[in-house]
């Protein structure tokens, strides 16, 4: 019997004196998809107990929003800790030591598809293909924690962040604003009233908007009279002066039932709207419930949070949105508060 060329002992010795181990370009050195996905979720603090995030509840009181930068070292340690599972000897340490760099770089990319994975939009390999070679390789992560009754009362609100302070009216579907929008890495409720958002990059503008499927049907009480504002087929208010977006909207009186003064006379209101369309042809034709809903809905409220640039210099920081800079919440004018567009022409297309 021939003696073997290499003994197990010798193989181990060779492996340990050779820190490069297997080249990370080899497919075998790649992380299994599940592991890569788990670690990239960890990168975005998925599953981390809340006490680790906010060690003292007074740091996030009721009805407050706190913006932050994500400490990359902290999340790197989280990943190190996860990889340390099953690391029983020097062999595993040597392996981790050799592969740390490539693993870390890979996770910098994979963390960008965590939200898509959470939403289940596509499979892991497909999504991974979409972000391969994206620039920049590692970016600053920012975000906010919101603890408010608005989180529980208005689930699935819209949250968007922009790298420049775009002014209203802001159409989020506009290519220009899409170009300025920061990638949302995570947007999740940690508890019924706490919302965590993470963005890739440093925003100058963050806004929260009422969820569209919960836009309410509301009236205005003027004296003892109930009114709604007439709206055109895209949901915008019709103004007394069509060229002046700040002129008064045209109201429509809402009648109530004789039998109960808080019950809106719906059929009667529709009749009034049909009549009103004779004077205001920009209103949608009252075909069915969809056209009716356009007239009676109130537009979503959009709350803007903007970085104040002129104070940034004082802090000596790298721009707005720095620690000492106050984040002003600005009440946007009712007339310009939203560029909500609703496409419609009745009829269940």
């Amino acid at each position: 019997v021939r003696t073997s060329w290499i003994t197990g002992q010798e193989a181990l010795r060779q492996r340990l004196i050779n820190p490069a181990q297997i080249a990370f370009t080899e497919p075998e050195a790649e992380m299994p998809p599940y592991m890569e996905s788990f670690l990239s979720h960890l990168r975005l603090l998925v599953g981390v107990p809340f006490e680790y995030l906010i060690p003292d509840p007074r740091m996030l009181p009721d009805e407050s929003i706190r913006f932050f930068y994500l400490d990359r070292s902290w999340t790197d340690r989280l990943v190190d800790g996860a990889i340390s599972v099953g690391k029983v000897g020097t062999r595993e340490q040597a392996h981790h030591q050799a592969h740390h760099g490539p693993v870390s770089q890979q996770l910098d990319f994979t963390e960008r598809i965590v939200r898509d994975l959470q939403r289940g939009t596509d499979s892991f390999p497909t999504l991974k293909g979409t972000i391969r070679g994206q620039q920049p390789p590692a970016d600053i992560i920012t975000g906010f924690l919101l603890r408010s009754g608005a989180v529980s009362g208005w689930p699935t609100m819209d949250v968007r962040a922009y790298r420049t302070d775009l002014s209203e009216p802001l159409d989020p579907a506009n290519p220009e604003s899409l170009n300025q929008q920061l990638r949302t890495l995570r947007l999740e409720r940690l508890s019924p009233s706490i919302l965590l958002a993470l963005f890739q990059g440093v925003p100058q503008l963050v806004y929260l908007e009422e969820p569209h499927h919960l836009i309410q049907f509301g009236v205005r009480t003027v004296g003892s009279q109930l009114r709604i504002d007439l709206r055109d087929s895209t949901g915008h208010q019709i103004r007394t002066d069509p060229n002046n977006p700040r002129s008064n909207p045209i109201p429509q009186t809402v009648h109530v039932r004789a039998a109960h003064n808080r019950v809106v006379a719906i059929a009667n209101l529709r009749r009034d709207l049909i009549t009103a369309r004779n004077t205001h042809p920009q209103m949608p034709e009252q075909t069915g419930s969809a056209a009716f809903a356009i007239e009676v809905l109130s537009l979503p409220w959009r709350q803007r949070f903007e970085g104040v640039e002129d104070q940034a210099e004082k802090s000596g920081g790298s721009g707005a949105f720095v620690s000492v800079v106050m984040i002003g919440s600005r009440v946007t004018d009712l007339a310009t508060k939203t560029a909500f567009v609703s496409v419609l022409a009745g009829g269940g297309g």
Binding site: I65, F68, L70, S73, L78, D80, G86, G153, V219
Partner: protein, 566 residues
């Protein structure tokens, strides 16, 4: 239609399922005729039911409600509504398939609304107006005639709401109003938190028509009005002849307001009398009905309900406007909790010797940009412990992060397996790479061997190649071919250098024997012969002997090359 763009919403009158919930019979018939004589064949009837929520609605079907559940706020200007994940739900059943209610009376110049009448209604009750009944038999909820219209389903228990008949009649939308109060919204799903997931962006919305009064505790109830022809009116009841509209004109074209008011006087109430109380409130006078023998309360099948209060501030806008805004680390009362300027929090801790100490902790959220620690990886939490030079206090932030990650990973059995698989694959391949490198050096194989191609055939062919090329005399193993080319040992060179007359003279000068000079021995002569029997070959002892010698030589060569004893 394309998906709605961000910020867009598409509204639909209704979305109908291909088949409404019902019982169906499918009849299959085959017509066969032979020579134009019909052959009667038995048909086949199959029965199937299309079932959907009818007497109860899973809470998961409700995507959202407004006003928010248990919310407090000035919601007295908003009618409640509920968004349902299942976009076809309000139209999956027919309200009144036998048209007992009748077709609503048409008003001139007002076309009937497009769409379908839903079987759901959202009614709003204020505290004290209703009582909730849980898990009652269906027979006790709906009147007997309605129960029969529903198909007399047996052993159904459902939740119900009970309220005075007058109240329900006064707030129940008419058939046409019900239709106007339900629609489908399709919204863009991007940029939202995750609870929207699993939905396709479509929501069926059922609105109420009653406005809650201020300062009231309200309950909005999604009820089934299927076959409730006893409650749903054909035409809407008359509107209030509100005299107090006059004079409250605000930026209104006068003609419009007057028109609205004058229309208010058109109809009057034949059933319910109303009177105007000075002070502006319209109150309902209990009506004397001609069917007083009926129970004064009525019950409705309750599918879903939620409560809210119309007090205080609490609309989305107000909540947003009053938010306490700041970077992380801002506390309302400075010093509580005591945060350092680096946003570290002092935490009491007992070290592993049991000695209490105060350490610093900071979560992953920081109020300023930090550079990323390039000293990775860390193999243990202790490696990540830090001491602040100013105070000597220990900073356990990163050590805690390490432990948190370790515990999270350890809690996931599949991750443990995958980690081991990752290592195992890497070890396996690096061990293979080591072996291949060793084989290459031992067999003097110059060519690179691809780690992923099967190695055995490559090595075998290389081995056979080196064995066969090395099958000459053993002297070759010591590279005497090279030596004989050394000028002093090369007869041609010697002949040239010494200008000898012939090559033989040079050979003689160098020792005379070709073998001593390490010259290759030619291949043994082959004996060409005709095809023959194996016995004839075996009888050729000389040939066999030569074959044996060749084999021995090859084996010797291999042994010498590998430095092993065979």
């Amino acid at each position: 239609m394309a998906d709605p763009k961000p910020g867009e919403m598409v509204l639909y009158d209704d979305i109908l399922p291909p088949l409404l919930d019902n019982q169906y019979r499918m009849t299959a018939e085959t017509d066969v005729s032979i020579d134009s004589a019909a052959q009667p064949l038995a048909g086949k009837d199959s029965f199937f039911n299309v079932e959907g929520p009818r007497f109860s609605l899973p809470a998961t079907e409700v995507a959202g409600v407004f006003p928010p559940r248990n919310g407090h706020g000035p919601f007295h200007d908003s009618v409640p509504h509920v968004a349902i994940r299942r976009r076809t739900l309000p139209w999956e059943r027919e309200l009144d398939p036998k048209n007992v209610i009748g077709t609503p009376t048409r008003v001139p110049n007002v076309p009937p609304p497009a769409g379908t009448v839903p079987w759901l209604a959202l009614l709003l009750f204020e505290e004290g107006e209703y009582s909730l009944l849980q898990n009652v038999p269906l027979e006790q909820v709906v009147p007997k005639a309605v129960f029969q219209s529903l198909g007399s389903p047996q052993n159904i228990r459902c939740d119900a709401i009970e309220a005075s008949l007058d109240l329900v009649t006064s707030i129940m939308p008419s058939k046409e109003e019900l239709q106007l109060l339900a629609h489908v919204r399709r919204v863009n799903k991007d940029d939202r938190e995750l609870s929207i997931e699993g939905s396709d962006g479509y929501f069926a919305v059922v609105m109420g028509s009653r406005l809650p009064s201020g300062g009231a505790k309200c309950r909005a109830c999604l009820v089934s009005v299927e076959e409730r022809w006893d409650l749903v009116p054909k035409d809407p009841p008359p509107i209030a002849t509100s005299i107090f509209e006059v004079g409250i004109l605000e930026n209104v074209a006068a003609s419009l307001a007057v028109k609205a008011v004058s229309r208010g006087f058109v109809s009057s109430s034949p059933v319910l009398a109303s009177r105007v109380i000075p002070g502006g409130n319209l109150q309902i006078q209990p009506a004397i009905r001609n069917h007083v023998f009926l129970p004064l309360t009525t019950r409705l099948i309750l599918l879903f309900s939620w409560q809210f209060q119309t007090i205080g501030t609490g609309t989305f806008r107000e909540l947003m406007q009053t938010l306490d805004v700041g970077m992380i680390g801002k506390v309302q009362n400075p010093g509580h909790p005591p945060l350092t300027d680096t946003c570290h929090l002092k935490v009491d801790l007992q070290d592993r010797a049991g000695v209490p100490e105060q350490v610093l902790y900071r979560g992953p959220h920081v109020p300023f940009e930090l550079t990323r620690d390039p000293l990775g990886p860390y193999h243990s939490a202790d490696q990540a412990r830090r001491v602040t030079p100013e105070t000597g206090a220990e900073d356990i932030s990163y050590a805690s992060a390490f432990e948190a990650g370790r515990l999270l990973a350890a809690a996931d059995p599949r991750l443990g397996q995958e980690l081991m698989r990752w290592r195992r694959e890497a070890y396996k391949q690096s061990s293979r790479a080591d072996s291949v490198a060793r084989v290459r050096s031992d067999l003097s194989i110059a060519a690179q061997i691809d780690l992923h191609a099967p190695v055995i055939p490559v090595l075998t062919s290389k081995v056979v190649q080196s064995v066969t090329t090395g099958a000459g005399p053993i002297a070759d193993a010591y590279s005497l071919d090279k030596i004989k080319n050394v000028i002093g040992l090369n007869p041609d060179a010697v002949q040239k250098a010494f200008e000898l007359p012939s090559r033989e003279a040079a050979v003689a000068m160098l020792g005379g024997d070709a073998g001593a000079l390490g010259a290759s021995v030619g291949a043994p002569a082959q004996t060409p012969r005709e095809a023959t029997t194996i016995d004839a070959v075996a009888a050729d002892t000389a040939g066999l002997q030569r074959l044996g010698q060749s084999r021995k030589q090859v084996l010797n060569n291999v042994a010498v090359k590998l430095g092993v004893t065979l």
